[in-house]
Symmetry: C2
Subunit: 414 residues, 2 copies
């Protein structure tokens, strides 16, 4: 009977802990085959430095509460393992740690980079003669993993952005006759417009202009679109991705803002866009930058996102029990309306280093909105509510006890 290792990787989300819950609860059901689940303290760095959290010391109730707690319950990191050629010692160290703690299952919960690490660990463990079943559990608000219908974490961000866009638009609509006519919301997504696209899920009666990273920013065309909306609706809401760029490749957010001391750019894309509108059209504006609020907003998670995050954690353990290796459980969409899905599986060799871009036919011809195809894809992902319990007016989120496992190896520098 082997132990298991679980780690969270990269930017955390509202539901990555739901996957952790799925992994640990399911492993506990297989106590005849899986010993203890160790979790990496602060992600893969915890494995490299042998800082392992003994999850068996966490109560059933606390593990269950992970399902409704945002952030990374065991800590995460953005540490990207180098290539096998460049830093074989690191991979060997991982396997030494796994060996020292009798770990036979490696569950790695993250995006593209962690899928790649997972694949390499699996390959190296074979060649080193210490077999490890490496299973990747998908997670990323960027929604850029192949094979799976979507990535846990994304649906909840999309719901947050769609609801926030709707609510702020209602606000502006009721004041626009004599006051603010422009509201600009800046959202995450440096490389892809998936999150910005969610702003397009509001009803057609709300005039939303979306600025995607995929579409070069055309100031003249943009201002004309905003102007037309203000004339028709009395106001205009703009959802701008932090990754939106000018035609010359500079980010909007980099537009040369300086403070008294000459420090570069303090602001984001939202104030830049708002100011362009003010200068050209003269409208009063307000802007918001959602930043971490959007990916941490477990209070507004989509039900399908929470369910899929849990199901993928659960499936990862079940795949391990079936003897699978170098694979990732995935969401397979079986119907759009009603939305139905099942858990499938992909091979890590088909997933690592493959980025799923937003299809260009998801962006409307004018470049400022989403198409019916995009809405059909996105709509189910924000459906359903899954509220956390509250205590004294605040969500009752859990904090892990994090009891550390005794170290057995010499220290290792990362």
């Amino acid at each position: 009977m082997k132990n298991a290792f679980y780690a969270q990787s990269g930017g955390v989300t509202a539901v990555i802990n739901a996957s952790a819950c799925g992994v640990i609860e399911t492993a506990r059901k297989h106590s005849d085959k899986i010993g203890t689940v160790y979790a990496g303290q602060n992600g893969i760095i915890g494995a490299l430095t042998e800082n392992l959290i003994d999850t068996s010391k966490e109560s059933d109730a606390d593990i269950s509460a992970l399902k409704h707690t945002p952030s990374g319950g065991f800590g995460s990191c953005r540490y990207k393992m180098k290539s096998l050629e460049d830093n074989k010692a690191e991979y060997e160290r991982l396997i030494e740690v796994f060996k020292a703690h009798d770990i036979g299952y490696f569950f790695y919960n993250g995006g593209g980079d962690s899928a790649d690490t997972c694949l390499k660990v699996s390959q190296l463990s074979e060649s080193m003669g210490y077999p490890i079943q490496a299973i990747h559990v998908p997670k990323t608000v960027d929604n850029d993993l192949p094979v799976t219908d979507n990535c846990p974490g994304f649906g909840s961000v999309a719901k947050y952005i769609a609801v926030s866009t709707m609510e702020a638009s209602f606000d502006v609509a009721s004041m626009c006759a004599t006051s603010t006519k422009i509201f600009v919301l800046e959202v995450m997504g440096r490389h892809a417009g998936w999150i910005a696209a969610a702003g397009g899920l509001v009803d057609d009666s709300i005039p939303v202009v979306i600025l995607f990273p995929e579409v070069d920013f055309d100031e003249k065309k943009f201002l004309a679109k905003v102007d037309a909306n203000v004339k028709e609706f009395g106001y205009c809401t703009v959802v701008v991705s932090e990754g939106t760029k000018w035609a010359d490749g500079r980010f909007l957010a980099e537009q040369g803002t300086r403070d008294d001391f000459g420090h570069a750019q303090l602001g984001g894309a939202a104030p830049v866009v708002a100011n362009l509108i003010k200068d050209a059209l003269g409208h009063k504006y307000h802007w918001a930058v959602a930043d971490y609020l959007q990916r941490a907003a477990r209070h507004l998670s989509s039900k399908s996102d929470v369910e899929q995050a849990y199901a993928l954690g659960e499936a990862a353990v079940n795949l391990a029990m079936e003897g699978k290796n170098s694979v990732m459980p995935a969401v397979i969409r079986t119907s759009n309306n009603p939305y139905t899905w099942e858990i499938g599986m992909g091979e890590l060799k088909d997933i690592a280093n493959v980025e799923k871009m937003m299809p260009m036919n998801y962006i409307s011809d004018d470049g400022f909105g989403i198409t019916a195809a995009c809405r059909e894809y996105l709509q189910p992902l924000i459906e359903g509510e899954d509220y956390p319990p509250y205590k004294n007016g605040l969500p009752d989120y859990v904090v892990m006890k994090k009891e550390m496992v005794e170290k057995k190896l010499p220290s290792f520098e990362v």
Copy 2:
């Protein structure tokens, strides 16, 4: 039997429509004494320009749905009536419009300015020989009205800020060992720190530094506090009010930011604070500006806020039925724990032009947190959840039909 006039004033909130619902539903119950409730299109401007919405054309179901819909369902404005001496014609016009439409009840839903307008209309109507019962319905996220325990709209903003502070802090806590250590959230409140104070409602295990407009910004002391938090907790969350000022009176947000073209200041206080920390302590940061999202977030309203907003609208009509004039229904706190309250009443002469400031004993000695007294006051205001219904993943907010009443008077310029 007289008709009634209802108008929304100033910045809208997550629950001002709940007050509208309370007014209209209660008026419908008194159909033996109150004819039609007319609503001002875009606030008091609708009365001045005789743009009246006939709320009797809105279905019971739609009026009921106002209770869970943020923003101003009939439109609002920031139009401040001048003093009686400076613009008596405007007040006279108001009364002419009321007379033309047989309006005997004036329900004005807003903050300090609208309380003042309400008082003057009541006074002038007497001297003009056309009696109008003017009742003010309190509303303002600024929480600065006297007599009432709190102002509808504030509790929901406070809940939003407390929950957002908690969620973002969980996010940063799980990444801080190797990544972002500082999160700065900018909140509303140009004159008072009520909203910023709500960031202090999170558990003591979360290190939050609050920057209040009431406390001059002391950069050295602030950086020392942040540094101490990072050393103790590994990270630090900062909640900064948009109204925070340097000792010389300049707003932090005005710190001389310029773009390539020399345009002044695009950003807010949050990026300024984040950059100060980065420069002095070197920590990686993220920042968010909640802006309208905080006051429009009906998806996260506090239950007590919604109930009080409705109860005050209801009470306004009941006070009118009792023959009251020049008054405002108010929330009277009868117990802290458990939180109990009842509806009382204040005279507009004691309310108009009186601003309730945050007591200085609500701010901790170091100026960066809230005291036990503040927590005791704030805590009940964020308690309870009151979720809107959802449809297709989005809140099912209502939009009024807004059928206009036929005009009877010559036009009037505002």
